[in-house]
Amino acid sequence: MTIWHILLGRLTWSSLAFVRAWRDPTLSELIGAAAAAIAVGGAVVLFGLLTYLRAWRYLWSEWLTSLDHKRIGIMYMVFAGVMLARALIEAVVIRTQQAIAINNQGIVGPEHFAELFSTHGTIMVFFVGMPLLIGLMNYVMPLQIGSRDVAFPYLNSISLWLTIGGGIMMMASLVVGKFSTGGWSGYPPYTELAFNGGVGPDYWIWSVSLSSLGALMTGINFAVTIYKFRAPGMTWMRLPLFTWTSLCTSILMIFAVPPLTIATLMLAADRYLGMHFFTNDLGGNMMNFVNLFWLFGHPEVYILILPPFGVYSEVVSAYSSKELYGYTSLVIATMAIAILSFTVWLHHFFTMGQSAPINAFFGIATMLIGIPTGVKIYDWIWTMFWGEVRLNTAMLFSIGFMVTFVIGGMSGIILATPPVDYMVHNTLFLIAHFHNMLIPGMLYGVIAGYYYWFPKAFGFRLSEKWGRRTFFCFFVGFYLAFMPLYVMGLGGVARRSQELFDPTLRPWTIVAEIGALLLFTGLACIFIQLYVSIKQRHQTRVPVGDPWDARGLEWSMSAPPPEYNFAVIPQVSRRDAFYWRKKYDGAYRPADHYRDIELPKNSMCGILVGMGLTACFFGFVWHIWWLAFLGFAVAFGTAVVRSFNRDVNRVIPAAEVAAHDRRWLDRAAAARPIPRHLELTPENEGLAKWQG
C-alpha cells in the first residue's frame, strides 16, 4: 500500500472528469467535463464574488451560523434552487438524448445516461423536493402557530448543514469520480460490488444518508414544535392547514426514514464489509432491499405532496377571501393519507413475484388513497365558490394544480391495478405518472407558496408579470413534456432507455423535448422574476405585513418579521386568528406590556457538525480513512464541546421589543388600507381594508 493510497484512497487522476475528457474526448465525456466545469466554475465565481463584495463576514455571522428558523428556511430554499437548476438541466439532457438517440448513440453514452437519470432522480427527491418543503415549513410553520422558533434551533441548523453536505457531495460527484448508475432507488444486486465496483453507488449511499439524517432530525424538530410550542389557545382544530400538513409530513419523516437508513446501511455493509444482505449468493435476498426501500419510498412521495396540499389550502382560502371550506374534512383527509401511505408500498413492486392476493390487497389499499385526495380537491373548489377570487400567480398555479393533479391521480389508479401494472410497470407511463404528481403537485405548490409568503419574508412583493410567464411555462411545459410519455409508455417504451429503436416515436420525443425546454425556461423565469422584483422593490414594499388580506397569525407582524417573530405571544381564540382580530379591531394594537425575550445565540456548531460528517462520508466514498476519521472527530468533538456551553441564549430587552413594535404600529397607522382588487398595485403597503 503506497503512501498515495493511504492519503487519497481510491482517487486517481482519471477520477477527474477533466482528465477523462482529455484522454478520451468523446461527446459524452466532453459533456461530463462541461458539467464539471460549471460546478467548479460556479463555486469559483461564487467565492470570488463573495470575497470581492467582502460579504464573508456578513454571510458567516448573519446567515451560516444563524439559528433563526426563518433564515434557516431561506437557506434551505436557496440551496434547493441551486440543486433544482442542476437537475433540470440534466432533465433537458435526458430528453435531448431520447429525442436524438433513435437507432443511434445520441449525445451521451449508456453509462453517462444512467448517471444522468440517477442524479436527476436523487437530486429532485432528496435535494430539491425535501429542502424546498422543509425550507417553507421552517419559515412559515412557527409563525403560524405563534412560536418564537422551532423546538430545537441548534438541531435545525445541523439538519440544514447535513442536507447541504449531501448536496455538496452530489456536486463533487460531477467533478471527481462517477455517480451511481443504479437510479434514485439504487436496487441491488446491480449496485453491489460484483457489478458496480466503482464509487458510484457509494456516492449514492452516503449523500442520501446525509439528506435522510437531516430530514429525520427536521421531522423530530417540527413534530415537537407543533406538539409543544403552540401559542396559548391554538388548539388542534385551530391549527392552520399548512401546519397540519407540516405535522403529518414530520411524522412521515420520523417513521419513514428508518427503513431507508437500514436499506442503505445494509447495502453499505455488503459493499464495504463483504456481507450478504442483497447479493446473489450465500443467502442474500435483494427483495429485502426493494421492500425496505419502498417502505420508505412511498411515504416519501407523501412527504413531498402533503406540505404543498397545505400551501394550496392557505393560498386558495386567502385569494378567495373565504374561510377554508371543509376544514375538518381536510384535516381528516390529511391524516388518512399519512396513515394510508404506510400501507401501500408494495404497489412499487407488483411484478416482483408475490402471490396474487397480496397484490390485490395492496392494489385496493392504494386506490383508497384516491378518496381522501379527492375530498381535498372538492374542498378547494368549494372554497373558491362564491369567493372573491383573485387570479394572480399563486392562484393560477393552484388551479393548474387541481386540474392537472387529477390526471396524475387517475394514472396512479390505473397503475394500482396489478394486471395493468404488469403491462406498464417501468415504462414511460410510470414516469409520466409520477412527474404528473410531482410537478403539478409539489413544484407548483412550492411556487405558489413562494409567491404567497415571499412578501412576508422580504417585505416586498414578487413581480406579477413574470409570475404569469412562469406559470405559462410551467403549465404548458408540463403538458408538452409528459403527456407524450403517457403515450409512449402505453406503447411499451421502457423507462431509463438510453437508445430507442422505433422511428415512429420521434414526434413524441420531440414534443417532450420542447416541453422540457419550456419547463427550463420556467425556471429561468423564476430567477428573472426574483431579479426584477428586487429591482422594483421600492414600488412593491409591504412593510405593514398583510398584503393579501390573509387570515393566519403569520400575517400579524411586520414584513419582514422581527427575529423574535412575536413581540408578545398571541392568545388564540378561534381558527384564522388574525382574521378575527382584524374583524374585532384587535389587530395593530400595542401590547399591555412587553417582556424580555430570550433567543438562541448564533452558533457555528451546526455547520461544523454538518461539514464534519460530510467530510467523513466523503472519506467513506473514496476509502480515505484518515479523512473519514477526522471528519467524524470534528463532528463529534463539536457536539461534545457544545454540550459544555451553558451560555447559549441572549436576551432582547423589553424596551427594544417595545420600540420596534411601536415603530411598526406607527407605520401601520400611517398606511392607507387597500381593498383587495388593488393589492397588486404600488398602493399596497401591506395593510388590508376590512371588507368582511
Binding site: 417513521f255 427483495m287 404506510f342 400501507t343 408494495l346 416482483m352 413475484g353 408475490q354 402471490s355 397480496i358
Partner: protein
C-alpha cells in the same frame, strides 16, 4: 438519612420492574431450556412473555401510564406500535410469500 414516602414509592416501582423483568426472563429461558412444550408453542410463549415484559419496562422504567398526564407520550408510543406492526407484519407476509414461491 430520611426516606420520604415518595422516594419509597419510586424505589419500589423500580424494584418491582426489576423483579418482574427477572422473573419473566427466567420463565422464557426456562421454557426453551427445559423444552417444556413443542417448539412452535415454546416460541409462542416466548413472544407472549416478551410483550408482557415490554409493557413492564414501559410502566416501571419508562413511566408510561394511562394517566391523562402521559398522553402525548402514550399517543406517540401507540402510533409507533401501529407503524411497527404495519412494517414488520407487511414485510413478513410479503417477503416470506416471495421466498415460498421461490422454492
Amino acid at each position: 438519612m430520611n426516606i420520604s414516602p415518595s422516594l419509597r414509592r419510586d424505589f419500589l416501582t423500580y424494584a418491582l420492574g426489576y423483579g418482574l423483568a427477572i422473573v419473566l426472563t427466567g420463565i422464557s429461558f426456562a421454557f426453551v431450556f427445559y423444552r417444556l412444550l413443542v417448539p412452535q408453542a415454546v416460541f409462542g410463549v416466548v413472544l407472549f412473555l416478551a410483550v408482557i415484559q415490554i409493557v413492564v419496562h414501559m410502566r416501571c422504567f419508562l413511566h408510561i401510564s394511562l394517566k391523562q398526564s402521559a398522553r402525548s407520550d402514550l399517543q406517540l408510543i401507540l402510533f409507533s406500535t401501529l407503524i411497527i406492526i404495519l412494517m414488520v407484519g407487511g414485510t413478513l407476509i410479503v417477503v416470506l410469500d416471495q421466498n415460498a414461491r421461490m422454492m
